[in-house]
């Protein structure tokens, strides 16, 4: 009887205290597990980004998405990223994910930049289809809407399911980056061009990190004026540029 009393009551005096400490420890461990899981997910996303190979003549660097479009003047389909002029970001630099193009840098602050997404109606990207090599210009139509491809000739053999890649003709994007997949093609007798719709390859809502591409070749099409004057480039630079395969 005395032994039972000892085991069930006296011996258990410290159990309540021990229980509280253990619960506190469990809470702390739960927090640690959440932090580690977040780190593991972050590492996976970085691994995915590292798989991306920059086109020749372009250098990629990572950006963290810190905000989406907001405020009373948030009129564009855009995101804000954590690098700006002090980190070498300039307007009109391509912003990409491993799956494809997201948009381009639009406004740059000292430490932050705004990225104009390809779903914005002001965004225009010259593309070419992957199989039939049909050229066109891909234009955004707003949030949660498909993209349209303009100026596709009626005779062009564009088909649903084809991938659209950057044509490299605008001087902003390198050639060959995937942009969208054709989802609808309609030919009409009363139109001058085909009605083509495409779906984005990258959903910006899912992205927490993206990459910006910087043109590291000495000759950039941005340096060319409309009168075609090329300044400060030697013949050797010109030759190197022509060999890189990125024409005007």
């Amino acid at each position: 009887m005395a032994e039972e009393f000892w085991d069930n009551y006296v011996y258990l005096v410290d159990v309540h205290q021990e229980n509280r400490e253990l619960r506190r420890e469990v809470d702390s461990l739960k927090l640690q597990i959440a932090a580690k899981s977040e780190k593991a997910a972050f590492a996976e996303r970085l691994e995915e980004l590292l798989e991306f190979t920059s086109p020749p003549g372009w250098k990629s660097s990572g950006l963290r998405v810190i905000a989406h479009s907001y405020g009373p003047l948030g009129v564009l389909e855009s995101i804000i990223v954590d690098k700006g002029r002090l980190q070498g970001i300039k307007p009109d630099m391509p912003v990409v994910a491993p799956e494809g193009v997201l948009g381009r840098t639009f406004k740059t602050g000292l430490n932050f930049s705004t990225v104009l997404l390809l779903s914005d109606p002001n965004s225009r990207i010259p593309v070419v289809s992957s199989r039939s090599r049909t050229p066109g210009i891909i234009v955004g139509q707003g949030q949660n809407k498909s993209l349209t491809v303009q100026y596709v000739h009626l005779n062009a053999a564009l088909q649903e399911g084809e991938y659209l890649v950057t044509s490299g003709t605008a001087g902003i994007y390198p050639k060959g980056l995937p942009v969208a997949r054709v989802s609808r093609v309609e030919r009409s007798q009363i139109r001058l061009f085909q009605l083509v719709e495409a779906e984005k390859l990258v959903s910006v809502m899912d992205r927490e990190e993206v990459m910006v591409l910087e043109n590291v070749t000495k000759l950039r099409t941005g340096y060319l004026n409309f009168d075609g004057i090329i300044r400060d480039f030697s013949e050797e630079d010109m030759l190197l540029y022509e060999q890189s395969g990125y024409g005007f």
């Binding site: 479009s69 009373p72 003047l73 002001n122």
Partner: protein, 140 residues
Amino acid sequence: MPGTDFFTPGLVVLVQFGFFNAAFWLGCFWLLLQEGTGNLAFGTIILYYAGLAMLYSLASIFFESRNVLFMALLFLFLAVYKKGLVMVMAGMQDLGQSVHMNAESVLIQFAVHFILWMLIYNFFNKYIMHEFVPRKKPAA
């Protein structure tokens, strides 16, 4: 809700209860915040708040400035004015493709302003002060 302003009702309530200094300084702070987060070049929010101040001052000469109907009309006009202003400014910066005058966004802005004003005004009225009291500077 991108494109929607949430700060104007607070400013209006401060002015209605005579906190002009607080309204001015908060307005300056919010102005910088809103200009910084937006996609347009600096100046749009300045024009918006200037329009708000002018409209409120003019209208309160002729109408009772705390009347619910007056506030409804003021916020309706402000919603249209803001949309029009953003359209003009975006157009001047070659970004006009993104902004269109649609009734939905104007009504959302009007509803947000009006509901927030009702909440803040009633809260102020109940817990802070009941009516506008002119605060005079102490005599030297």
